[in-house]
């Protein structure tokens, strides 16, 4: 679960979604020049957080940007009306810490033990002046996030909870961290409440829908946190 880190700091910035050829490696990570990595490393501070602990609070002064080396982070936004919407799950290689007016826009909590790296925003800004190439990398990242965000929107706007859930399971199955391609078993890192908050529904509906999908033989429950997926079946459900 922890990064091997052959070099003192291996910075894997995942370009969520896909980008044209020459900016990412085979694993979908940005290719950073040696000097860029060196410059970034100089201002990088490793930070380990345990599962179920907050990393940043919505509304706090945004001092840092975070990069995930291992673990999963949930980003949630509290509305004025008391609702809490999960805006994204962040995976290894993701950057997080979106800010507006120098305040964090969302709260971020560790779902699992996490191995993070944090960069001071001012220091990053300064780096941009001396390392122009770095800006481009962050631009690619920002646009990738934009696509991800849109994908989440499209997921959440499916009218039937069944479709939203199917889409969510498919999404998770694309994360090597929690899907075993061999057995077809998906490990759910988050609890029902989090799934509900991400899919914009209720715990009860999530629970019922899991049951419904199981009856339709699209998934098989191993236990509450482990399900075997019929990916083709789920994808068919989604496009129907």
């Amino acid at each position: 679960m922890t990064a091997p880190a052959a070099t003192p700091l291996s910075l894997r910035i995942r370009a969520a979604g896909e980008v044209p050829g020459d900016t990412v490696d085979s694993a979908g990570n940005l290719i950073l020049s040696t000097q860029t990595v060196a410059a970034l490393s100089a201002i990088a501070v490793p930070l380990d957080v345990k599962a179920r602990t907050p990393v940043v609070r919505q509304g706090d002064e945004a001092e840092f940007v975070f990069l995930i080396r291992s673990g999963v982070i949930k980003a949630e936004h509290q509305l004025e009306d008391g609702r809490t919407q999960i805006v994204a799950f962040h995976w290894p290689g993701d950057l997080f810490g979106l800010a507006d007016h120098d305040l964090y826009l969302n709260s971020a909590d560790a779902l699992t033990d996490c191995d993070l790296i944090r960069f001071s925003r001012p220091a990053l800004k300064a780096l941009f002046l001396t390392e122009p190439g770095l800006q481009g990398d962050f631009l690619v990242e920002a646009i990738a996030h934009l696509r991800l965000s849109q994908r989440h929107l499209l997921l959440v706007t499916h009218q039937r909870v069944a479709k939203r859930l199917a889409g969510f399971l498919i999404e998770c199955s694309q994360k090597p961290e929690c899907y075993d391609t061999q057995t077809g078993v998906l490990s759910l890192i988050m609890d029902r409440t989090d799934i509900a908050a991400y899919l914009n529904t209720t715990v009860e509906s999530v629970s019922r829908m899991i049951g419904a999908l199981e009856e339709r033989k699209l998934i098989t429950r191993v236990d509450a946190r482990h399900v075997r997926l019929d990916l083709p079946g789920l994808k068919a459900l989604l496009t129907r």
Copy 2:
């Protein structure tokens, strides 16, 4: 059919949302250096489109990025299952033309007559090499769009259509292009179908909800496309 262009090209790039002081002017537009504007102008091509005409099609090769000088654009995404979700309305100063794998991710249609400027993507990329500052401006823009996108998500995930509609009206009231602060009258430039597609509901529900809001005296219909808003009341509804 051609741009009026008082100056050869006045490039207003709106930093959607808000950004810290020194990168935007009082109107919320990015401050571009003279040489940046000159460089951009060199590759800028004015383009005028009439209301209700397509600008780009989802899936087409993404050759350009567009900047809106005047008019309103709707960006919509066709799902495999036939659903069409409006992903954003773009206003003057906005950039649009999000791409993935060099293909447009969404279709864009002009809602009103539009005065656009288009930049060739390869030319832009080339510019980034010679004008490092420009990349930063686009980074700011991308992040601003990210915030906007999240706001749309939060809007759409309100459970009650009433709340979504209220949020939408408030959002529109922040566009000087369609809200008259003096009279409090909002001009809806999009039809009910588009509003429904943006709010993830149906034409009928939108229509009914407008009626419901009117009964609750939160809005007054002048005609189908013009409503007087009780902004405080609408905001109260949203946070309840």
